[in-house]
Amino acid sequence: MMNKTKYVERGKASLKALLFLPLALGVHAESPHPQPRIPTGGESGGFNLATCAGCHGIEGDGNAAEGTPSLRGLPSTYLKEQLHAFASGERQNPVMSSIAQALSTEDITLAASHYAQLRPLSRPLEAQDESANDLAIHGRWSENIPPCDDCHGPEGKGVGENFPALNGQPALYLENQLQAFKKGSRPSGPLKLMGNIANKLSDTDIRTLSLYYSGSSPMTGGQP
């Protein structure tokens, strides 16, 4: 069962983590991986893996507790679109906006191709209850909601350049994104498909689906 308080606390934790972002980057600078150069505003800093690694992890795995997405194997077209949307403010996220604004178009292409070629995370999915399975696999056609898997692929493993994998993403991230589609703090995506669908989902739908696609075990309340 989902523990609502935990989610709220984790939300706060993400804010705290953002404040310590420079510190986190400093730690990674001492790692054996290529030395990062942190882009700063006004300078074309060049794409720098360590900038991303600060929150998304050195391998791009993301961070379940912070709700930071895995970038591994996401389609490059999609990643580019998102970075441009962060830069323009269409997709609202203070940290990602300032980072994306410092990237040139070429940097964005480099970053996107880097993560696109990594092997994606994939977890076995376990339905929390019948309703998660219903929405993900059967949809709710009485409200014109197609199954998530119809566009995101079986078990949410992604389809082509425009439909990113959901499988293995942190539950908190998925929940935040579906809520962001609903609130309009993230662009509705191609043909406004996602905005349109998210508007029809209840908070419970969103929580259940997020847990399902994260690969969370039903007993651990969201921990993978």
């Binding site: 194997g73 994606p120 019948e130 219903d134 059967h138 949809g139 056609w141 009485s142 014109n144 909601i145 197609p146 119809d150 566009c151 692929g153 079986p154 078990e155 493993k157 992604g158 389809v159 082509g160 425009n162 439909f163 994998a165 191609p190 043909l191 498909l193 349109n196 669908i197």
Partner: protein, 296 residues
């Protein structure tokens, strides 16, 4: 009182149905349709589940009879439940019926055979074949509660009014690029999921339905598109857009009609003598039906 309510509901639904014919947007599927969890756990239930598997992944579970990448579920949405996408349960209740396509009364099993022959570009399973028995069981199970429902006109796809201008390939190409290409690809080839499963069906070319399929007819394709496409946004295209994009899609070549006589002209005269078929017409510099069919 209950009876009065039911009568009011019935009248309302009948009125709405009248409107459906003009705007191409049907009512929702009746909620009386059973859910998967209601499939009985007995021998009949096993056959229903087999039918459901065939319906969902036809190429895998009825391999011998399929000649393209399509599955039943690609067109018949919500696993054959959704009104407006030729729901399976309503089809089951509509046969035996006379069909102008072959000038005789067809049973439901014979109708299923045609799906394999044309829409699946394969070959018809013989009558009594487990493939047909499974699909028929699935359809019968689904309609069990529907018999008492008055809305039986939900068979097929609601007809679409004729467009104000004759359908245009050029306009259709633009509608396609803006609304369809995202999923069905720039060359109508469809798209596969990252795990290799077909995600979005090919609409033309050698891996799609052949010239004998209903979807190769402009009126049927336009009505289907208007009602169901883009997925989750059914009803959003104008009637004109739906006709134009149907013309664009059906204006591409696809596998030969299995009734082909050896001559495109003769095959057109015998089986495509209707303004709803572009077979044998010169479209975008190519005589449709004359091959070769593009490799998608």
């Amino acid at each position: 009182m209950k009876h009065l309510m039911a009568l009011v509901l019935l009248m309302t639904s009948l009125t709405t149905l009248g409107n459906d014919l003009s705007d191409g947007v049907p009512e929702e599927s009746p909620s009386v349709l059973p859910a998967d969890r209601d499939i009985p756990k007995d021998e009949f239930g096993k056959m229903v589940r087999q039918g459901q598997l065939i319906f969902s992944d036809t190429g895998q579970f009825a391999r011998a009879y399929v000649g393209n990448d399509l599955s039943c579920r690609n067109c018949h949405l919500d696993q054959g439940r959704k009104a407006g996408s030729a729901p399976l349960w309503a089809a089951f209740l509509s046969y035996p019926a006379y069909r102008a396509k072959n000038h005789r009364v067809n049973t439901f099993a014979e109708r299923l055979q045609e799906c394999f022959r044309y829409s699946m570009n394969g070959k018809a399973p013989p009558l009594g074949d487990p493939t047909l028995v499974a699909l028929e069981s699935y359809a019968y199970w689904m309609e069990k509660n529907a018999k008492i429902n008055p809305r039986l006109t939900e068979r097929g796809v609601p007809q679409l009014q004729k467009p104000s201008s004759p359908p245009s390939y050029e306009r259709g190409k633009i509608v396609y690029a803006n609304n369809c290409e995202l999923c069905h690809g720039a060359n109508g080839q469809g798209k596969r999921a990252n795990d290799g499963h077909l995600a979005f069906p090919p609409l033309w070319g050698n891996r799609s339905f052949n010239w004998g399929a209903g979807m190769a007819q402009l009126d049927k394709a336009a009505a289907y598109i208007k009602t169901n496409m883009p997925l989750s946004l059914g009803g959003s295209l104008s009637n004109q857009d739906a006709w134009d994009v149907a013309y664009f899609v059906d204006g591409h070549d696809r596998p030969q009609d299995p009734r082909y006589t050896g001559s495109v002209d003769e095959t057109r005269a015998l089986f495509h003598h209707t303004r709803n078929s572009l077979y044998g017409h010169l479209v975008a510099g190519h005589v449709l039906g004359s091959g070769p069919v593009s490799q998608n």
